[in-house]
Each structure stands twice: as structure tokens, then as C-alpha cells.
């Protein structure tokens, strides 16, 4: 087998403990992370290998494409400019999620989707802390099942919200990509096709979170000795120590080693 050079970028400028443990994360071609204050205030550009410092800091800035910097508005990572007109004024119970055209966020008793300048709301009882997930034709989120447990609900365009996963076991860490939605359910990962409403199941006990790129999901899991990253397309990262909080976007995988603050970016061959 021919040897392949693996492109690994270590990110010492982002080597700070974030108050929101989910950071740093990948947002388009950037790694968004924290400074010494533990608040999100900087981003590393994969293209230019430069670190851009934000003018404001937030404990959490959302997931997806754009960081949302509270009352200061939405930050364009490319232009490093804040757009106050895009700010989310409502009190949110979880980080928002955005793509190029939409942003979804959760309030105490609603789920909201903003697109083309319009905001649409539906009554809901979302669980706090878990961000919603955007897929092609709608948004999914973790909903309170009425007994302080977790179900997955989906709200597709032109339809009413409905439950797509429930039951005794908690369903959480919902993510979306393309037409797919994935979540963690007890000791498995479920990948749901929003077009056909069919589900694929992967047996896995996820350590922290999952990430979804098209239909490929990645997660951290214990082996006999340590925690490694596994992806459903067959890729797995096995190296000494525990690799946690994986996030994959396209060919880039972001993860951290427990005990070392420095996040690592790896290009998947």
C-alpha cells in the first residue's frame, strides 16, 4: 500500500478551554474557537492559515456557517464584519444553527426559522442546550417528551412539525446535512432520510457528539484502551490517547485530545 501524506494542522492559537465545551467547531472553512477568557472570539482560516480575532466575545455563537454574536449581530467570517440586521433578539435556550440562507433557533416554547428575511415560528417545547439541525427542506430539534426526556421533532417546509423519533430512550445531539438528519439514541446512531423517512442505524456508544456530512456521520467512541474517532464511511482515527469532540466538514476533521487543549485539524485522505 502506498504511503499517504496526511495533512495535520495543530491550532495552538485556539488552545484554550472554552466555557462551552463544544467549541472549537468547524464553520465552513474556518475553525471557530476561544481565547483565554473561554469565550468564542477568534477563528482560524483553513484557506489562508491565518487567525482572525473578533471584536466581541460570546460564550456560544451557534453552529453552521455564521457565528451569531448576541446583540452585535451575525458575523461574516470572510469579511470579518458584523451585520446587526441579522441579530437574534429573542432569548434562546440553545445555540442557533445557520446555513447560507437560513437560521434556526429555539426559544422557551417555540422553534423559529428565518429565511429570506422572514421569520416563521412554531409552538414547541425544545430541550435546552441542544442546537437544532438544518436539513434541505426544514429543521429538526430535540423536543421535551413531556416527561423531561428527549424526542426528535422535524418541521418540513409546508408541513406541520411532527415527531420522527421518540420512546423511552432519549434521542439527542441532532445534526443535519443535505436531506439527512442524524441523532444519537441510546447505544446507536440513527440516520434519517427526510425524503423517504427511512432510517439507517449504526450501533455505537457516542462519547460526546456526532457530526454529519451528507450521509457520513462521525463520532468518538471507546475502544479497549482509549477513545478514537469513527466515521460511517469507514474512516477511523486511532492514535494513543483520547480523541474527542470530533467534527467533520467535507474532507476536514477537527478533534481534540483529552489532556491537551490544542485542537487538531486533519485532512481526511
Amino acid at each position: 500500500m502506498a504511503e499517504q501524506e496526511i495533512n495535520i494542522i495543530v491550532l495552538p492559537e485556539l488552545a484554550f478551554n472554552c466555557r462551552d465545551t463544544r467549541y472549537p467547531i468547524l464553520m465552513s472553512n474556518w475553525v471557530v474557537g476561544c481565547g483565554p477568557s473561554g469565550r468564542v472570539d477568534r477563528a482560524f482560516s483553513i484557506a489562508t492559515k491565518q487567525v482572525a480575532r473578533f471584536t466581541v466575545k460570546q460564550e456560544t455563537v451557534g453552529m453552521g456557517v455564521f457565528p451569531f454574536m448576541g446583540s452585535h449581530g451575525r458575523l461574516s467570517l470572510q469579511k470579518q464584519k458584523l451585520d446587526k440586521s441579522q441579530r437574534i433578539i429573542t432569548a434562546m435556550i440553545a445555540p442557533p444553527i445557520s446555513d447560507e440562507e437560513r437560521v434556526a433557533y429555539l426559544g422557551q416554547d417555540f422553534v423559529a426559522l428565518r429565511k429570506a428575511g422572514q421569520t416563521y415560528r412554531q409552538v414547541a417545547q425544545p430541550r435546552a442546550w441542544y442546537p437544532p439541525a438544518l436539513f434541505d427542506s426544514g429543521v429538526a430539534w430535540v423536543e421535551d417528551d413531556g416527561q423531561r426526556g428527549e424526542d426528535i421533532w422535524m418541521w418540513k417546509d409546508e408541513q406541520s412539525p411532527k415527531r420522527i423519533a421518540g420512546g423511552k430512550m432519549p434521542q439527542r445531539h441532532v445534526v443535519g446535512s443535505g436531506p439527512y438528519v442524524a441523532w444519537v439514541e441510546d447505544q446507536r446512531i440513527v440516520i434519517f432520510d427526510s425524503r423517504t423517512e427511512e432510517q439507517d442505524v449504526i450501533a455505537a456508544q457516542v462519547v460526546d457528539r456526532i457530526s454529519l456530512t451528507d450521509k457520513t456521520v462521525c463520532w468518538s467512541q471507546w475502544n479497549q484502551r482509549d477513545i478514537d474517532v469513527h466515521c460511517s464511511d469507514g474512516f477511523s482515527l486511532r492514535r494513543p490517547g483520547h480523541q474527542v469532540w470530533p467534527m467533520r466538514q467535507g474532507k476536514w476533521l477537527l478533534f481534540r485530545d483529552i489532556g491537551r487543549q490544542t485542537p487538531v485539524l486533519m485532512e481526511i485522505p
Binding site: R19, T21, E59, W129, Q147, R148, D208, W222, I258
Partner: protein, 616 residues
């Protein structure tokens, strides 16, 4: 005529009610007013019950003459705590049993000793009335003080929710004597948190009144000077409206002292036992009182026996639960230090001890470990005025030595101004007498010193009342207010409200237990001793052992210790006792728990049953 007066009275009442109701800016919110009224009435009811049973107990002690109103109140508090001990031990603490105790306390009205009501000059009442305004504001606003949110409110609430006396390694704070916290639990059950704070406020005002009354009996205007010294010291003023145990302990020591002067040693012994059962820090002034104010070794021995017998229930309770009798102060396996005295104050070498009176007045800061409080400089400035009096007045001389002994005990412990409060009334009385007897010119100068020192003591008062006032009136949402002032409040409330009904969280590296409306274990004391000990003791089984105790979730606060905050701990010990447990917890969390919520650096984890491993 009478009808006109009646109508006028009704009109006045209607105006009072309607002005609150129709206020366009709603200065007082109905919910806050309701909370205050309920808390106040409950506090008043139980306070009245304390007076009755205290006077009844006084008669049983066969002490001649009427009982002082202040003596009846404190003795009644002690009786109340003892009466609740049995149902709490049996796990029967609730409305029924506490109600039965209340009835029992009130029924003693027929058989009690006559009560000698306060005889206080008009200005004493005026001062108390003004101070009462502050006490009401402070006690009505949601508590944010650390000692209240992890101990003085949190523990009674837990005892009430669980219906029993707690203790042991999962509730180490409850292994302290609970003579005050059992009544606090009953107050919580009947009137909520504000009943506890308002009851404490009533006790504090009673202490103030007692200092005026007894100080004036000692010497004219000694009571006035004593109260001036008290109210010129922020650390005392702050305590007035908090839910705490320092001022009740001070009250008990204060009354013990007077009983000894009256040669009523049996009663004094019981009050001393009450003081020690409220807070062990009372030992300082009590040793001084015992050594100087009790005449004859026969009486001294008798007092010790009575105190030990009265106090025995607390160490016996610990011993019966396989704990060291003085747990949690000692008795941690593996020689785990409970407290680092070096953390507080300005050093513990000989020079620092000698300069302690100077340093505690000149350099104390209210929000730093450098004494954690502020006192009026007249406490230092008035000392030379004492010396001429000591030669002439034997009684004052004895009291001055008692204060000195108490001060030495304080100096041996953590240099925290709050721990000085149990001896504070004795100190201000001694200085008050000296000031009252001083020449007028010196008194004017003394007042000027007091006034100059007032600014550094009044500044924290003004800063505090600025946010306590709207909180007390209900203008701020209680949860939102507490989230601004209590670290981890939002996460604690989420865990309380959003975890499954049967979930039992363990609070690790966090303080705000009072945020939980459900049973929990652990919480903190000193340098997060419970969780560090648990991790060091059980190592990799630590989370398993918690699961065996029924714990389902973990609420984890800031678990990072900074080495520079512990310069008195060797690097090796710091690694072993502080860094290692936090790293061990991080390792265990990855393997045995799942993060389900986080906010402001605080996290909630669900404990997993087991991990599934991927075969190699």
C-alpha cells in the same frame, strides 16, 4: 364619633392597599409582597412560640424571678431545635410533626415564667426601627450570599424535602450541630426561604435591642456607643438580614455572659451549650467567660458537665453514623485537610499575629480573602480609652479579659471577620462602656473616628442595597436576579426543573444547592472538600460509588484550582490534593457520563449504566 374614627381607619387601610395595587410602575409586586407577608407571619409565629417555651423552660430550671425577654427567646430557640431533633432523626420531619411541636411550644403559655419585657430608651427603639427597614429589604430579597446558598438555606431546605436529618460524606455540612438549622427547616416548610431570613432578621434585631438595654443598664450611653460601633461595621450590618448563624451565636454568648455575672450558672451552662450548638466558634468567648466569670472550680466543673451533656446529641449523632464525633472538621480519612487557615487574613507568622488588630481594621476587604469583611476603626481607636477604666472597674476588667481570650481564639482560627462576630457584642460593650465614661472631648474625637471609618463601611452597604431593593420588591425576576449574582444558578435551576422527576443529582465543585427543588448530595464546603475527598477515597470507583447511593446525574461547577491561590501548599500536595482529583474526574466523566447541558461554564452530566467497547 367612634363610627367616624372607624371609617377613617378603614379609609387609611384602603389607601395603603390601593396605593400598592394601583401603582402605575408597580413598585411592589404582589408576589413579592405575598412572599414577605407569609415569611414575616411565619417568623413572628415561631418567634412568639420560642418566647413561650423559653419562659416555660426557664421556670423548669427553677431560676428565681422573671425571665428576660431576650433570654426567653434564645432559650426557646434551643428548645425548638431539640424538639425537632427526634422527628428529624426518625425521618418524620414535616408539617405534621413541626406543627405538633409548634402547638406544644404555644401550649406552654399557661405554665411559663413571667417575662420581663424590654426596657429600652426611645432612641433604642428608633435605631431598631430604622435598622429593621434594612433587615426587611435584605431578608426579603432572594438570598445570594454564598454561605446562605450552600448551607444556611440549602441545608434546611434539603432536610425539609427529605424529611430527615442528613449528614456523612454525602452531606458533610449536616454533620455539624444542627440546633439552628432544624428550626430553619421548619421555617422553610411553613414560609419558604424568606421565613428563614426574616426569622434571622428578628433575632438580629432582638440582639441589637438587647445590646441597647443591657448596655444602658451597665452604664448610661454604653449601649448607645455599643450599637454605634456595631452599626458602623459593615460585617455586622450585612449579617443582620442574612440567613446565617453568627449573630444567633453571638446572642447566646452575650446572654451567657450576663447569666454568669448574675451567678446563674446552670442557666449559663445551658445557654453556653446553645451557643456551641449554634456554632463551634462560640468556644472562644465561652472559654473566656468560663475562666473569668464563673467563681470557684466546683461551679466551673458543673458548668462543663452540663454543657457536655446538653451538647452530647451532636457528637453522638455523628458517632452513631460511624463518623468522627467532630466531623466534618476532623475525621476525613487519609488525613485530608478540611481547612487551610493560611488562606484567610494576612499571614500567620508571629509578626502577622502581633499586627492582627491593626491589619484587620486597616486592610480588610469585603470581597477578598483578606479578612472578607470590614469593621469600623473606632474598634481599634477606642482601646486606649479602656485602660484607665480597667484599674477602677473589676467587672469591666474581667469582661475585657474575656474579650481578649475570645480574640486569641479567633486569631488561632481562620482570620475571617464573620468568625469574630460571636464575640462582637462583648467587644462593643467593653468599648462602649469605655467610650461612655470618656471625657466629652475624647467622645467627640471618637465619633469623628467612627464617622471617618463609616465611608469604607457604608460603601458596600450602598452598593448592595442598590440591587437588593428592587429584588426585594419583586421588580426583578428572582431567578434572573440570582443568575446575575450566584455562579452556576442557571445550570442549577435547569437541573432542578428539567431533569427527570426521580433524578438525584450530585453537586460537585459548585455551591448553589438552594437552587435545587429536589434532593441532592454533596455540594461544597471550604475548598470543595466533599468531592475532592470522594475522588481521592474511591479513585476510579468514585462515580460507581455515587451511583450506588442513588445518584443519577452530576452538576459540575468550576473544577480548576489555581496554584497561585495556594502558595502555602507545597507543589506536591497541590498536585495530589487539587490537580489530581479534578483530572481524575475529567477522565471518569469521559468514560461514565454524558454531557446533557451546560451554561456559563457549569455542566450537567447523566451517569451512564456502562460503556460499550468497539472490538479491536
Amino acid at each position: 364619633m367612634r363610627m367616624m374614627q372607624g371609617l377613617a381607619g378603614l379609609w387609611l387601610l384602603a389607601v395603603a392597599i390601593l396605593v400598592m395595587y394601583l401603582d402605575p410602575v408597580q413598585s411592589i409586586r404582589l408576589a413579592a409582597f405575598k412572599r414577605f407577608i407569609i415569611g414575616f407571619l411565619v417568623a413572628l409565629l415561631w418567634g412568639g412560640a420560642c418566647l413561650q417555651i423559653g419562659a416555660f423552660a426557664w421556670k423548669r430550671l427553677k431560676v428565681e424571678g422573671p425571665v428576660g425577654w431576650d433570654q426567653a427567646l434564645l432559650l426557646g430557640l434551643g428548645c425548638w431545635g431539640v424538639l425537632l431533633f427526634l422527628p428529624a432523626t426518625l425521618g418524620w420531619l414535616g408539617h405534621l410533626t413541626s406543627g405538633a411541636v409548634l402547638m406544644l411550644m404555644l401550649l406552654t403559655i399557661r405554665h411559663r415564667a413571667p417575662i420581663r419585657w424590654p426596657v429600652v430608651p426611645w432612641w433604642g427603639w428608633a435605631i431598631c426601627a430604622i435598622v429593621a427597614c434594612w433587615v426587611v429589604i435584605e431578608a426579603s430579597a432572594p438570598a445570594i450570599d454564598t454561605d446562605a446558598v450552600y448551607f444556611h438555606l440549602a441545608l434546611p431546605k434539603q432536610m425539609w424535602l427529605q424529611g430527615e436529618l442528613l449528614g456523612g460524606f454525602l452531606h458533610p455540612n449536616a454533620s455539624r450541630p444542627m440546633l439552628l438549622h432544624l428550626p430553619y427547616a421548619a421555617l422553610f416548610g411553613w414560609g419558604g426561604e424568606s421565613a428563614i431570613s426574616l426569622f434571622h432578621g428578628l433575632l438580629s434585631l432582638a440582639l441589637l435591642l438587647s445590646v441597647v438595654e443591657r448596655g444602658e443598664q451597665w452604664h448610661r450611653f454604653a449601649g448607645l456607643w455599643a450599637v454605634v460601633l456595631m452599626l458602623g461595621s459593615w460585617s455586622f450590618v450585612l449579617e443582620l438580614g442574612l440567613a446565617s448563624n453568627n449573630l444567633p451565636t453571638a446572642f447566646a454568648c452575650w446572654l451567657t455572659m450576663f447569666l454568669c455575672f448574675q451567678l446563674r450558672y446552670t442557666a449559663a451552662a445551658i445557654f453556653a451549650a446553645i451557643a456551641l450548638s449554634l456554632k463551634f466558634t462560640a468556644i472562644g468567648p465561652l472559654v473566656g467567660i468560663w475562666a473569668l466569670l464563673i467563681q470557684g472550680w466546683k461551679h466551673r466543673a458543673k458548668v462543663v458537665v452540663v454543657v457536655v451533656l446538653c451538647m452530647a446529641i451532636w457528637p453522638l449523632w455523628n458517632w452513631g453514623h460511624d463518623l468522627h464525633p467532630l466531623f466534618p472538621y476532623v475525621g476525613w480519612p487519609q488525613q485530608f485537610p478540611f481547612q487551610y487557615l493560611e488562606k484567610y487574613g494576612m499571614g500567620r507568622d508571629v509578626w502577622a499575629f502581633l499586627l492582627l488588630p491593626w491589619n484587620v481594621i486597616m486592610y480588610a476587604e469585603v470581597d477578598k480573602l483578606r479578612f472578607l469583611g470590614r469593621l469600623n476603626p473606632l474598634l481599634l481607636g477606642a482601646i486606649p480609652l479602656l485602660f484607665p477604666q480597667l484599674w477602677q472597674d473589676g467587672k469591666l476588667r474581667k469582661l475585657a479579659v474575656v474579650v481578649l481570650i475570645a480574640a486569641v481564639f479567633w486569631a488561632l482560627g481562620p482570620h475571617w471577620i464573620r468568625h469574630l462576630l460571636p464575640m462582637f457584642p462583648l467587644l462593643v460593650l467593653v468599648l462602649g462602656v469605655a467610650l461612655a465614661r470618656a471625657p466629652r472631648g475624647l467622645q467627640i474625637l471618637a465619633f469623628a473616628v467612627w464617622f471617618v471609618g463609616l465611608w469604607s463601611n457604608a460603601t458596600p452597604f450602598v452598593e448592595r442595597i442598590a440591587h437588593r431593593w428592587p429584588a426585594a420588591l419583586g421588580q426583578l425576576d428572582a431567578d434572573r436576579y440570582r443568575a446575575q449574582h450566584v455562579r452556576g444558578w442557571q445550570t442549577m435551576r435547569w437541573a432542578s426543573n428539567q431533569l427527570p422527576e426521580d433524578a438525584v443529582p450530585a453537586i460537585l465543585f459548585a455551591w448553589a444547592g438552594v437552587a435545587m427543588d429536589r434532593p441532592y448530595v454533596m455540594s461544597s464546603v471550604e475548598d470543595h472538600v466533599p468531592v475532592r475527598h470522594w475522588l481521592l477515597h474511591y479513585q476510579h470507583d468514585a462515580l460507581d460509588q455515587l451511583k450506588k447511593q442513588g445518584v443519577t446525574h452530576l452538576v459540575i461547577g468550576n473544577d480548576r484550582f489555581l496554584g497561585k491561590s495556594y502558595p502555602f501548599v507545597s507543589k506536591k500536595d497541590f498536585q495530589a490534593l487539587f490537580v489530581y482529583p479534578t483530572n481524575l474526574l475529567a477522565e471518569l466523566l469521559v468514560a461514565e457520563a454524558e454531557l446533557v447541558y451546560a451554561a456559563e461554564g457549569y455542566k450537567v452530566y447523566r451517569l451512564l449504566e456502562k460503556r460499550v467497547l468497539v472490538p479491536e
